[in-house]
Subunit: 360 residues, 2 copies
DNA sequence: GGCGCAAACGTAAACGTTTTCATGGAAGCT
DNA sequence: AGCTTCCATGAAAACGTTTACGTTTGCGCC
């Protein structure tokens, strides 16, 4: 009982357990880590004492000596919205399945900011998942601790050292354009994303490539957007004023498509009757607008999961998989807005887990 | 130059810097931590050498000696959906503003699972934000390392030791019911959430209290739901079959309200013409369905921010603010679905940041 | 009973920092 | 010049683990 009394002030350490159990710290360590080489009787004692003292090993000390933290760091540009929610979920699930913890770091306003974020990870993580427009090969060489494994997400860099995992934006855009053409549309306008955005670039490339192939006669119409609903609205207004009004509009993301949709509604233009509409991302809202929005689905949680799995593989020193650029395909999901015979009801009500508006 | 060559194998430590700069490790530490008491000349040397060797302090070692990690742990039940996206965002923003890192841990299937998650934080974090249905006062006493500050979110526990930050679900529900009554509805049905969910309980209590006060003559109709869209749909169907059809339906969350909305649409019931509808949470989708959904808004990011700020205050040993149960108010946001004169356009297009469907 | 061997266990070094304390020297004062 | 004061610096302890290595113990075998 006096042991309990003396414990109220500080956390028990391995030494306390050793003393109380009348064994050495080494034995305590062995027992608690299941290394064997210790008598069942002693094991019992040690476990009992550890439980009684409520001993919890200190991870800092453990990390210091082993060089392992069982934590991976995720460097993300911003935690806003569905994309990151899904990404983190995918990462976290996969991490947790491997007993890894997740340290997130977000909102880097510039390359300098990103550098401190990455550097701050030293001694905190075993590997990193990086999604940032600011990092390139030189950046990593400069700021990443020696030999720290890292996987790059959605990045244009090609490195012999770090695997890259990209979304196949180009292919997804091509598939959607092809579908629109097959649905009878030739004059398909495109609402582009931010010029500096890698995804946006790829999507526009896909649009252009597909148009060249499937609708070579059509005049290309590209109006600028910046991924916001507002810019989509403005783009929609602009498109309505075009001489030959486009038959279809393909927006580089769903939010712009939705903005565009409201511009059309306001103008009394029927979608898909007067004009077809498609987006990109398949955000949750897409299926709830009227009409439901056809779009390109990116399996974001999968992206996170695969990235983490790749990283986890690198954590194993035996792993010799060469760094490569992998690509995760997209699926087009056809709803009412593009005018094709939709294969989904207006309100798909298949048992779908709620987006958990509030915790259970 | 030979220094560079010798560095290729291991990361530079403070000793390397000290040796190379011909000073002691103590001085290097002082310089790099800005403690003063060191000549500008020496500072210059040290900084130069540190930069040249690309020295990055090891956080594990630092934490071990200082007892500080500059990291806070967030224990969350699940990372699914908008709620957690927003919550994490709020936490992360506030944390980052204070130079704190964020370690997230999620998806605990049971009390045992939650216990290992919490215990795994020892030596990794300076404090914890906990949102879990499994933790109560006894749990904390058992699993939380001695003297580790923690803030509980959305929890029924009253502890003299740990501050609790709740959403004022009850008050929000009351406000919405009052609004519905003022809009002329008396017979207001309620779709409840999971019985074990704290938020759901509070919302139902609010509904009952407000009905008793503002519509004492009305017969209470409560049908079960579980926060999923699907359960909302079923509830909607059930409500339509009630003898005196309710004039309004108040769902314990938005997803159920939306499911309900589709049930009504399917049955040819006009919302809000034939029946009014309201939800809770103000998820992003709420404003995009037709008609836009009236709902109760919880400022989730604020919840995260405030929780972190409270926790940050506790990190300061001088802080003696007593642990208390705080409550974060909700605002009702009136759109078309409840039949009142909506004060917002169908598609509010005020410059609103895109939910960042894909990263910039 | 002595020998060897393996299993159980303990000792101590190591991990990379921060921080206390001692030391030396320069500067200021009388 | 002699004294004190103060400041820059270095040596070493400490943080709580893991683990390589050495020591003891128990046991079977000749």
């Amino acid at each position: 009982m006096q042991g309990d009394a003396s414990m109220t002030t500080k956390n028990a350490t391995i030494k306390d357990v050793a003393r109380e159990a009348k064994v050495s710290v080494a034995s305590v360590s062995r027992v608690l880590n299941g290394l064997g080489g210790v008598t069942p009787a002693t094991q019992k004692i040690v476990r009992e004492v550890a439980a009684r003292l409520n001993y919890i090993p200190d991870n800092a000390a453990r990390s210091l000596i082993t060089g392992r933290t069982h934590t991976i760091g995720a460097v993300l540009p911003d935690l806003y919205g569905e994309f990151f929610s899904e990404l983190i979920r995918g990462i976290d699930l996969a991490a947790r399945a491997r007993g890894l913890h997740l340290l997130v770091s977000s909102s880097h306003d510039g390359v300098e900011d990103a550098a401190v974020a990455v550097r701050a990870m030293r001694g905190r993580v075993d590997g990193m998942l990086i999604l940032s427009e600011y990092v390139d090969a030189a950046f990593l060489e400069e700021n990443l601790p020696e030999k720290l494994p890292a996987v790059l997400l959605d990045s244009p860099v090609k490195s012999a050292r770090y695997p890259v995992l990209n979304i196949d934006n180009r292919d997804g855009a091509i598939a959607m354009v092809r579908h629109l053409v097959e649905a009878g549309h030739q004059h398909i306008a495109f609402i582009s994303g931010p010029k500096t955005n890698f995804d946006a670039q790829q999507r526009e490339k896909g649009y252009r490539a597909a148009m060249a192939k499937h609708a070579p006669a059509a005049t290309l119409i590209v109006v600028d957007g910046d991924f916001t609903e507002d810019s989509g609205y403005r783009a929609g207004c602009e498109l309505l004023s075009k001489k030959p009004r486009p038959q279809a509009v393909f927006a580089a993301n769903d939010m712009m498509a939705i903005g565009c949709l409201y511009a059309f509604k306001e103008a009394g233009i029927d979608v898909p009757g007067d004009i077809a509409l498609a987006g990109f991302d398949d955000i949750l809202i897409a299926r709830y607008v009227t009409p439901p929005l056809s779009t390109v689905q990116v399996r974001i949680a999968d992206l996170g999961r695969i990235a983490l799995e790749r990283l986890a593989a690198m954590l194993n020193p035996a792993d010799k998989t060469p760094a490569s650029v992998e690509t995760l395909g997209c699926d087009i999901v056809i709803r009412k807005s593009c005018g094709a015979k939709a294969d989904a009801p207006a309100a798909p009500r298949k048992p779908r887990k709620s987006p958990r508006p509030l915790p259970t």
